[in-house]
């Protein structure tokens, strides 16, 4: 058992290398057997890496403290679910998790398409195996999770030794969301490898038509959805655990997770231009390339220590590997593009600036501007040090100042875009579509002004939020009204019918609505309040409409931690509303203290209480209370985004009834003929959207 893990890891590396070699040979010689062999090797990588992960988990669950990684991130009294999550608590394990998730994606991408796209899949297989080979190289030779602890015996001979107990899991990670946040985020990061592989494969193989776009659309949506969930879970974790009353600090690693999400969002929009109109082919290919590069850059930032971050792993030379890999990706992408650039010529041109095409163009532009601003701010300290030798900081005020106007403009486009027609929109149509949503938004703004809403950005956000919401609902209403009138059904079932007929479009609208909710939640930030007070038993603290009475302080002990806890009774208008128990835990194994925030969340505001510990001056307990409006809208918006994405992933009802998969030649066999020009034209003319 002891060597099974490391042996499987080495075997997985060899299988990935073989998949590249056999794949390339298969493409060059056009031999079916080689291509099939490469495909099987690609799938075997998943099986082997799964075995590796199972081995490492086994070591965690059996408290095998002769393994350096297990000893560093676990201890005997750690609850089993945190032992499971300890797999990704450190550099080596999280890299293994990355490899495993990547191999899972690769397995499914290959397996699902094993009998389809025989001209494309060998290229895709090679790209996927190439990326896996890089990560398996790190797992095997740079950051192996199977290093053993050694100690000298009495005779001075070095032998494998085991600790009596491990050092324990970082207390910051001992929180339910930390069990799912990293895998979700990694599923996002690694998921973008699939569209990258298809895009690069299609470019290298000059695969005809827009088929790679059709294939990767769902993969991109899945990765995007995971990335969204990962980011939001990370924000929630920061909010609920770190105890600073906020959820987003523009930390370089947070920024790194946002970058591919932004370009992925841009791709999901601009891809429709290619599907519907055969436009923006170069742009789309580069958006996919850039998204993948930003994923690798994000990993580089997290693991190299080139920017200071609270999330960063210990500084190590592993960053150089990522720099090399990133450089290789850039070179490969540029070379492939340059060699095959004539393949990406656009078929159509823009007819009018007042059209959905142009709104997508602007949407992409604004998203890219946001991406650039975040990337620029994140890397500027490094750039400044490099250019003028000056170490500087770029903190949250910079990002807020630069990104808030961009984000608001994007919100505006979220409302405007869907109401514009393809090709050209007439002035009458503009008036008809925009009048009510615009009036609704402005009315909401006036009401908010009357009620003392004075922050300009929040006010604009509210107006735009209402505007976008009304455009979304009007889209549902107008479509459903037609179906209801035709079928004689009621409006609710007509909405269902409408949605299921075009899941992608209406799922997209639901995602837009979710984004509005998130924006409204963020607009509450300027109205945050906080107060910190030393409190003895019987004393009260007042914040907003709440009075908080300190009833007791007590201690709780278990094998994992000692905890000091406050018992607070919250009153509103003189009536007792709830009891809150903010805690401060001292984790025994790691000797680290951690706050456990007590949050009472409602749709209007969060009462967020931190037991900040005892004052060093007089030993008095200190309570830090925050009143954060509208935070719940962010988490609820996240759920709506996920539901919308899920909806968009469903096949259209009509398509599901009519269309059946066709049997195509197996991978490795040659396609009898390439897609006809007529096919390309028709595909542009119609689509699922």
């Amino acid at each position: 058992m002891d060597i099974l893990g490391s042996f499987s890891l080495l075997l997985a590396f060899l299988a990935a290398v073989y998949a590249i070699c056999a794949g390339v040979a298969g493409i060059v010689t056009r031999k079916t057997l080689l291509a099939k062999s490469a495909r099987n090797a690609g799938m075997a990588v998943f099986v082997l890496v799964t075995l590796v992960v199972a081995c490492l988990e086994y070591y965690f669950f059996t408290d095998n403290f002769s393994m350096a990684y297990v000893a560093a991130h676990s201890n005997r009294s750690l609850p089993f679910y945190y032992k499971f999550a300890a797999l990704w608590a450190g550099q080596e394990g999280s890299l293994l998790l990355w490899t495993w998730l990547l191999s899972t994606y690769a397995f499914f991408a290959i397996f699902i398409n094993r009998n389809r796209h025989p001209e494309l899949m060998p290229y895709v297989g090679v790209v996927l195996a190439g990326v896996q080979t890089f990560f398996l190289t790190l797992n095997n030779f740079v950051a192996s999770p199977f290093a053993l602890l050694a100690g000298a015996d009495p005779s001075g001979v070095m032998r494998v030794s085991a600790l009596a107990d491990g050092h324990g899991l970082n207390p910051l990670l001992q929180y339910p969301e930390m069990v799912i946040h990293p895998p979700m985020l990694y599923l996002g990061y690694t998921g973008f490898t699939v569209p990258f592989a298809f895009a690069l494969g299609a470019l290298l193989g000059r695969y005809p038509g827009e088929k790679w776009i059709h294939i990767t659309r769902r993969w991109t949506m899945i990765a995007w959805c995971f990335q969204s969930v990962g980011i939001l879970l990370g924000a929630h974790w920061a909010y609920a655990v770190l105890g600073w009353g906020g959820y987003w600090a523009w930390d370089p690693v947070e920024n790194a997770s946002l970058l591919p999400w932004i370009t992925g969002t841009a791709f999901l929009h601009s891809v429709m231009m290619q599907e519907k109109r055969g436009m923006m082919k170069v742009w789309n290919i580069w958006l996919v390339f850039t998204t993948f590069m930003l994923c690798i850059l994000g990993t580089l930032l997290t693991r190299s220590g080139i920017v200071s971050s609270v999330h960063a792993f210990a500084q190590s030379s592993i960053g150089n590997w990522f720099v090399g890999f990133l450089a290789l990706i850039v070179i490969v992408c540029f070379a492939s593009y340059w060699k095959n650039r004539d393949y990406l010529r656009s078929d159509n041109q823009l007819d009018s600036l007042v059209s959905r095409e142009s709104s997508f163009l602007f949407n992409n532009l604004i998203l890219l501007a946001a991406c650039f601003a975040v990337l620029w701010g994140t890397l500027f300290p490094v750039l400044s040090e490099w250019v003028v030798g000056n170490k500087i900081s770029v903190g949250p005020p910079f990002f807020n100042k630069v990104n808030i106007p961009i984000a608001l403009f994007l919100l505006l486009l979220t409302g405007v875009g869907p109401l514009l027609a393809w090709r050209k929109t007439s002035f009458d149509a503009l008036k008809r579509n925009f009048a009510w949503p615009l009036a609704g938004g402005l009315a909401a703004g006036i009401v908010a002004l009357v009620f003392g809403f004075r922050d300009i950005y929040s006010l604009i956000c509210l107006i735009l939020g209402v505007f976008v919401t009304l455009t979304v609902f009007s889209e549902f209403y107008r479509g459903a009204r037609v179906i209801a009138a035709r079928d004689g059904s009621n409006l609710v079932s007509a909405v269902g019918e409408l949605t299921m007929r075009n899941t992608r479009r209406y799922g997209g609208y639901v995602v837009h609505f979710g984004m509005v909710l998130i924006f409204i939640g963020i607009a509450g930030v300027p109205f945050n309040k906080d107060i910190q007070k030393e409190m003895a038993i019987g004393q009260t603290l007042t914040i907003g409409p709440y009075s908080i009475l300190c009833q007791n302080f007590d201690r709780v002990t278990n094998g994992n931690y000692d905890s000091e806890r406050a018992t607070l009774e919250v009153f509103r208008n003189g009536k007792s509303e709830m009891m809150l128990y903010p805690e401060r835990r001292f984790f025994l194994a790691s000797q680290v203290t951690e706050t456990m925030v007590a949050v009472q969340s409602s749709s209007l505001r969060d009462l967020y209480i931190v037991y900040a510990g005892r004052s060093p001056e007089n030993g008095q307990p200190v309570i830090h209370a925050y009143l954060n409006p509208l935070v719940k809208w962010i988490w609820f918006g996240g759920i709506v985004v996920v539901l919308g994405t899920g909806l968009a992933l469903l096949p259209n009802r009509r398509a599901a009834l009519v269309l059946r998969p066709v049997t195509e030649p197996a991978w490795g066999d040659r396609l009898p003929a390439r897609v006809s020009p007529a096919g390309a034209i028709a595909r542009r003319g119609e689509g699922n959207d």
Binding site: H214, S358, F372, E594
Partner: protein, 181 residues
Amino acid sequence: MIRRPTSQDRYLRARVRFFLLAFATLTFVLHSVVISPALYAQQTERGRELGKRVKCMCGGCNDSATACNHTGGSFSGPCETAKGMQSEINERVTRNESDDLTLQAFVQEYGPTVLIVPPAKGFNIAAWVAPIVMPLLAIILVWVVVRRWRNKAALATASGPAIPAEFLARARRETGRDYDE
């Protein structure tokens, strides 16, 4: 002729003295109780604002001295470094030093990295300008591309052959099955 003060004069003078003393005492008490804390609060608020412009230099976070709220350690709240920095700011504010002077003192002690956003001077101007200039350039670029597209589209419409309806219908029949992938 100088009139000798009468007992009534002495009484009046004593009352004036008493009222003056009482007024002075009251002023002193009012100053101590009401005005001074107001002044102190104002300075603390200014100190808080200044603290938001200075980065906590503990090396473990990217927060400002005011916003620092370290987890772990002996006291969760602003870490010792942030608290030290904030109290230095408060002292300087109490001495009525200007914002610039206070920030300059921190820059001298820690280097320019102590400022939470780079001042718009020298190379740092690029930090502020690029996020505005680059999107503008991109808009111009898109504008140029769109104009070229539109011109090409006009040419194509004028000269290009129309696709026959039956050809389009056939193409749709042939390729419709690909959509559900």
